[in-house]
Every structure is written in structure tokens, then in C-alpha cells.
Symmetry: C2
Subunit: 140 residues, 2 copies
């Protein structure tokens, strides 16, 4: 597989605490996100912290999706990283933010595994912010 | 736990193909990296691709370590992300690069979960490159 990968590093704010505090719900959202964005799931693991917060990882053939949540803050630290052309990681990010009912996202997209002439590898970074209006189930 | 986290996104080049192509060896390196950098391991998963390449994730109480490798290119895409003050993620990165026998690393350190006044969250990014001289087991 090509080394080029797209890694979305997302700070999601204003999320629904009941959703991002529920490991089963996050698992369901992640598995659906993998499915609709054309990723092949290899394994998944979700862990609920005491008293609140969830850590979750789905390993897909094309790389991984992970999240660590702070329900009391409405905050989720989300990563979606895929290699190859088959998967659509941005679609997974959008789906997860929608299901988390996030109001705001600070996103950096890292293009990873860029091979240089001397056999070293670099990444490039593009950062943006999104205000999300979920009242109509659509982005603002 | 505090939302602030340190996430190292690393493109490691010139790695030993036999090491980064061996799922058992990577597991051993990751578990030791977690131990020496004061992380509490919750779960780990390693997957060997056909014909080459390994994906691996260790979920720690403080967040996660993950890697996806291309042994034929000597390339490994490494992430080490921890929250809180207890763990020392940079120590884990240095240990893993040393054990992979990496010759070069392009690194971005993302400081995540920075809370703003309006309850949104952002991250900052610092990028650097390292040439690593492994002949004496030390960095250049």
C-alpha cells in the first residue's frame, strides 16, 4: 500500500455529554463511520473511565480511528487516519461530529508519508475551524 | 483528568525492516515504551498485513500509542498521545525511534485540548526534524 495517508486531528467541542460518555454508543458510531467511509474494520476497543470519559480505537485495514472524551467538558479528541485512495476519512470525521452533536471543531489535516528523494518522509499540515449548526441536522 | 494532551505525530525513516515488519517485536517495544514513560496499559492490538507491514495500537489510561509500518520503505507512521502530567510521551517516542533504528524523523508535536473562553478547544503545533545517528546508540 502507498505510504501516503490522511490524518485528521480534531478537537470537537459542544458535544452531547450523554453520547460521548457512552462507550457502547461511541462504538456504534465508529463502526458505522468506518462502514460508510469504506474502511475495513480489523479490531475495536473501547474503555470507559471512572467516573467519566471514554477511550476508543478502531483499527481498520487502512489505519485507525481513535477518540478520547471528556463528557463533563463536551470535549472529544478525535483522530481519523487512513492510507490509500479507497477510504474517505473526511466522510468519517463529518459523520462522527454529526453523531456527537459537536458545535465546533478545530481540525488539522496532516498529509503523512510523503517520500522525499533521500528516502526520508515528511508530512504537511492544513488547519481550519468549523462552526457546526446541528439544529437542522446540517452544518452551518 | 485535564484535557491538555501532547500528541507526537512522527514520520520515522530508515528504520530496520526486520524490526518494523515484526508484530511481536513491535508489541514488545511498545509495552516497554509505555512502561518506561509511566503509562498504564489498558489494551493492545497488533495486526500483520500481507505481504508486509504491521499496524499496532496500545491504549493507555493516558491515551494511546499507534504505528503503521512499511518495512519495504523503512518507514513507520508513529503516534504517541498522552494526557495529564504523569506520563512522558517524548521519552516513549525517543525509545521507539531508537528500537526501530530510525535514521531520520519528521515530528509534529500537537498540544491538544486547549480550552478557550467560549468552551471551544484548539491545538497548537510545533514541527521539527531529527537526524539520528545510531552507530553509538545515541542521537547525533
Amino acid at each position: 500500500m502507498d505510504t501516503i495517508g490522511h490524518h485528521y486531528v480534531v478537537e470537537a467541542a459542544g458535544c452531547d455529554p450523554e453520547i460521548i460518555g457512552n462507550a457502547d454508543k461511541i462504538r456504534e458510531i465508529f463502526l458505522e463511520a468506518a462502514k460508510i467511509s469504506n474502511m475495513e474494520v480489523k479490531a475495536s476497543y473501547f474503555f470507559k473511565f471512572s467516573p467519566t470519559g471514554v477511550s476508543g480505537v478502531v483499527i481498520v485495514a487502512e489505519s485507525h480511528i481513535s477518540v478520547h472524551t471528556w463528557p463533563e467538558k463536551g470535549y472529544a479528541a478525535l483522530d481519523v487516519y487512513t492510507c490509500g485512495e479507497k477510504a474517505d476519512p473526511e466522510k468519517a470525521v463529518d459523520y462522527i461530529l454529526e453523531k456527537f452533536k459537536a458545535q465546533y471543531a478545530h481540525v488539522s489535516e496532516l498529509k503523512r508519508g510523503i517520500e522525499e528523494d533521500d528516502s526520508t518522509f515528511t508530512h504537511t499540515i492544513l488547519t481550519w475551524e468549523e462552526k457546526l449548526d446541528r439544529r437542522n441536522g446540517k452544518k452551518a
